[in-house]
C-alpha cells in the first residue's frame, strides 16, 4: 500500500480565515488510517474548525481536503451527506438532542436513514449502549446525564453506523479522573476493536498522548511538528518542548506584547 492510501484524510495547503483572522495558512498533514491521532496546539488555533472542515461544514478558501479519496470541497450535497454517514463526530458537549431520551438519541441515525424494523434497531442501540457502559441509562433524558455520561452516549450514537472515522472535539475537557479514564479506555478499545480511525482534538496532552499512535501540533495556522508521541517528546524544537512540558515561559512568552513596563509605570505617575 502506498503512503497516500495509508492516509484516510489528506490535507494539502489549507487556507481559511474567519473575519480578519487567518486561521490556517497552508496547513498540510496526513491522518493515518486505523490509528488514533491527536491534534494538539494552543487555544484558538482552529482545531475544532479543522474538524468541521473535514466534515464539510466549512469551506476552505484555498487548498484541499481529501477523505478516503474524495475531495470534500467538491462534493455535491447528496454526496456530502453520504460521506457524513461514514463519519462520526463527538462534540464537546455531546450535542445530544434534548427532546429525546438517551435510547432515542442513539436510535436517531438509524431511524432517520434506514427502515430497519424496531427489534433490530433496539438490538443495535443496546449493543452500542452496552459498549459504552450506559445500558442502564437508556431512558434518561440528556439533561439528567453528567458530562461524562453525555459524552459516552454521544459516542454510542457516533458508533451506530460503524463509521470509518470518528472525530473527537475536546473529549476530556472538564472531566474527573475516573470519567477521563473511562473515556480513554473507550476510545482506545473502540478504535482497536472496530478498526476505526480516531482523530482527537485535545488540550489534555498527557492523557491524549497516552493512547495516541500519532500526533500533530498546529500553531499559527501551520503544522509545527508531527509524529508519534515518542518522536515529539524527543523533538529538538524548543517550542515543542515548552508546549509538551507546559512550561510557562519560553518561545511562547509569558508577557503578551505590550509597551515597555518601566515607561508605562513612570508615564502614569508623571502625568
Amino acid at each position: 500500500m502506498s503512503d497516500e492510501q495509508k492516509a484516510l484524510v489528506q490535507i494539502r495547503d489549507l487556507h481559511f480565515s474567519r473575519g480578519s483572522k487567518n486561521i490556517f495558512r497552508g496547513l498540510t498533514v496526513d491522518i493515518p488510517r486505523g490509528k488514533v491521532t491527536t491534534i494538539l496546539g494552543p487555544s484558538g488555533t482552529g482545531k475544532t474548525t479543522l474538524l468541521k472542515m473535514i466534515g464539510g461544514q466549512l469551506p476552505a478558501s484555498k487548498g484541499t481536503i481529501h477523505v478516503d479519496g474524495l475531495e470534500v470541497g467538491k462534493l455535491k450535497r447528496r454526496e456530502l451527506y453520504e460521506l457524513r454517514k461514514r463519519l462520526g463526530m463527538l462534540f464537546q458537549s455531546g450535542a445530544l438532542l434534548t427532546d429525546l431520551s438517551v435510547f432515542e438519541n442513539i436510535a436517531f441515525p438509524l431511524r432517520e436513514h434506514t427502515r430497519l424494523p424496531e427489534s433490530l434497531i433496539s438490538h443495535l442501540v443496546l449493543m452500542r449502549l452496552h459498549a459504552v457502559g450506559l445500558r442502564g441509562a437508556r431512558d434518561l433524558s440528556p439533561s439528567e446525564l453528567s458530562g461524562g455520561m453525555a459524552r459516552r452516549a454521544a459516542l454510542a450514537r457516533a458508533l451506530v453506523f460503524d463509521p470509518m472515522m470518528i472525530m473527537y472535539d475536546e473529549p476530556f475537557t472538564g472531566q474527573d479522573p475516573i470519567s477521563m479514564g473511562i473515556l480513554l479506555e473507550l476510545i482506545k478499545t473502540v478504535n482497536g476493536a472496530l478498526g476505526l480511525t480516531s482523530l482527537m482534538v485535545s488540550h489534555d496532552l498527557n492523557e491524549a498522548l497516552s493512547i495516541s499512535d500519532y500526533a500533530v501540533i498546529i500553531s499559527e495556522g501551520v503544522v509545527v511538528e508531527a509524529g508519534s508521541p515518542e518522536q515529539l517528546r524527543t523533538s529538538d524544537s524548543e517550542w515543542v518542548q515548552q508546549f509538551l512540558q507546559g512550561k510557562p515561559d519560553g518561545p511562547v512568552p509569558f508577557q503578551a506584547a505590550a509597551p515597555d513596563y518601566e515607561t508605562e509605570l513612570l508615564g502614569g505617575v508623571r502625568s
Partner: protein, 257 residues
C-alpha cells in the same frame, strides 16, 4: 463626517444583507416542506408547542378584549341611541382587526420567542451541527416542522380569539349592560359577512403567522451561539414580529377593506 455617511450606508447594506439571507433561508425552508408529509409526527409535536401552549393566553385575552370592546362601544353608541349595535361593533372590530393583530402579537411574544430561544439553544449546544454531521438536514427536521406549525397555528388562534371575544362581548353587553340579546346577535349577524370579514381575518392571520414564524426561526438559526446571543435574538424576534404585524395589518386592511 465621511465616517457617519459610511456607517449610515453600511447600516443599510447590512439590513439588505440580512433580508437577503432571510429570503434564502425561507426558500430552503419552503423546499423542505414536502418532506414533512412523510413524517407528520414532527409537525404535530410543533403544533403542540406553538398552538396548544399559546391557547390559554389567547382565550383569556380574547375574552377580556371582547368585554372591553363591548364596554367602550356601549358607552359611545348609547349617545346615538344605537346601543343595540354593540354586537356589530364588537364583532367587526374583532374579526377584521383585533383578532388577527392581538393574537399575532401575543403569538409573537409567546410562541415566537420560544421558538427562537429553542433553536438558538440548539445552535449553542451544537445540536444543529451534530445533526448536520449525522447527515440529517436541519431544515427538514428542525425548521420546516416549526414553520408549518406556526403558519397553521396563528390563523386558528386568531379565529378562536375572535369567537371568544364575541362571546365576551355578549356576556358584558347582555348580562351586565342590558342590551337586548336577540338584537345583539341579529344585528351582528346582518353586518358581519362570513366571506369578506371572517375570511379576510383568516387571511390576515395566515399572513401574520407566515411572517412571525419566519422571523422567529431565522433569528434562532442565525444567532450568535452564546447565552447573550440567544437572548438578543429572542428580543429581536419579538420586536421585528410586532412591527411587521402592525405594518402588514395596515397594508392588508388598505387592500381588503
Amino acid at each position: 463626517m465621511i465616517d457617519l455617511v459610511q456607517r449610515f450606508g453600511l447600516f443599510w447594506l447590512n439590513i439588505l444583507a440580512s433580508l437577503g439571507r432571510a429570503s434564502m433561508f425561507l426558500a430552503q425552508m419552503v423546499t423542505a416542506l414536502p418532506s414533512l408529509l412523510k413524517r407528520p409526527s414532527l409537525t404535530v409535536r410543533e403544533l403542540y408547542s406553538t398552538g396548544v401552549k399559546t391557547l390559554s393566553i389567547i382565550l383569556v385575552s380574547g375574552l377580556f378584549v371582547g368585554m372591553v370592546l363591548a364596554l367602550q362601544g356601549y358607552n359611545i353608541l348609547i349617545d346615538f341611541g344605537q346601543e343595540n349595535r354593540t354586537g356589530t361593533l364588537v364583532a367587526l372590530t374583532l374579526v377584521r382587526e383585533l383578532g388577527p393583530v392581538v393574537a399575532g402579537l401575543l403569538f409573537a411574544g409567546r410562541a415566537g420567542s420560544a421558538m427562537t430561544a429553542e433553536i438558538g439553544l440548539m445552535k449553542a449546544t451544537e445540536q444543529l451541527s451534530g445533526l448536520e454531521m449525522m447527515a440529517v438536514d436541519p431544515f427538514k427536521r428542525v425548521y420546516a416542522p416549526r414553520f408549518l406549525a406556526g403558519c397553521l397555528s396563528l390563523p386558528m388562534l386568531a379565529a378562536m380569539f375572535s369567537a371568544i371575544g364575541a362571546f365576551g362581548g355578549y356576556l358584558l353587553s347582555v348580562e351586565v349592560l342590558g342590551v337586548d340579546a336577540s338584537a345583539y346577535w341579529s344585528l351582528m349577524q346582518s353586518s358581519v359577512s362570513f366571506t369578506s370579514d371572517v375570511g379576510n381575518g383568516l387571511v390576515k392571520g395566515a399572513v401574520f403567522g407566515f411572517v412571525v414564524t419566519w422571523i422567529a426561526i431565522f433569528q434562532g438559526a442565525e444567532c450568535i451561539p452564546t447565552s447573550e446571543g440567544v437572548s438578543s435574538a429572542t428580543t429581536r424576534t419579538v420586536v421585528y414580529s410586532s412591527l411587521a404585524i402592525l405594518a402588514l395589518d395596515f397594508l392588508l386592511t388598505a387592500i381588503m377593506f
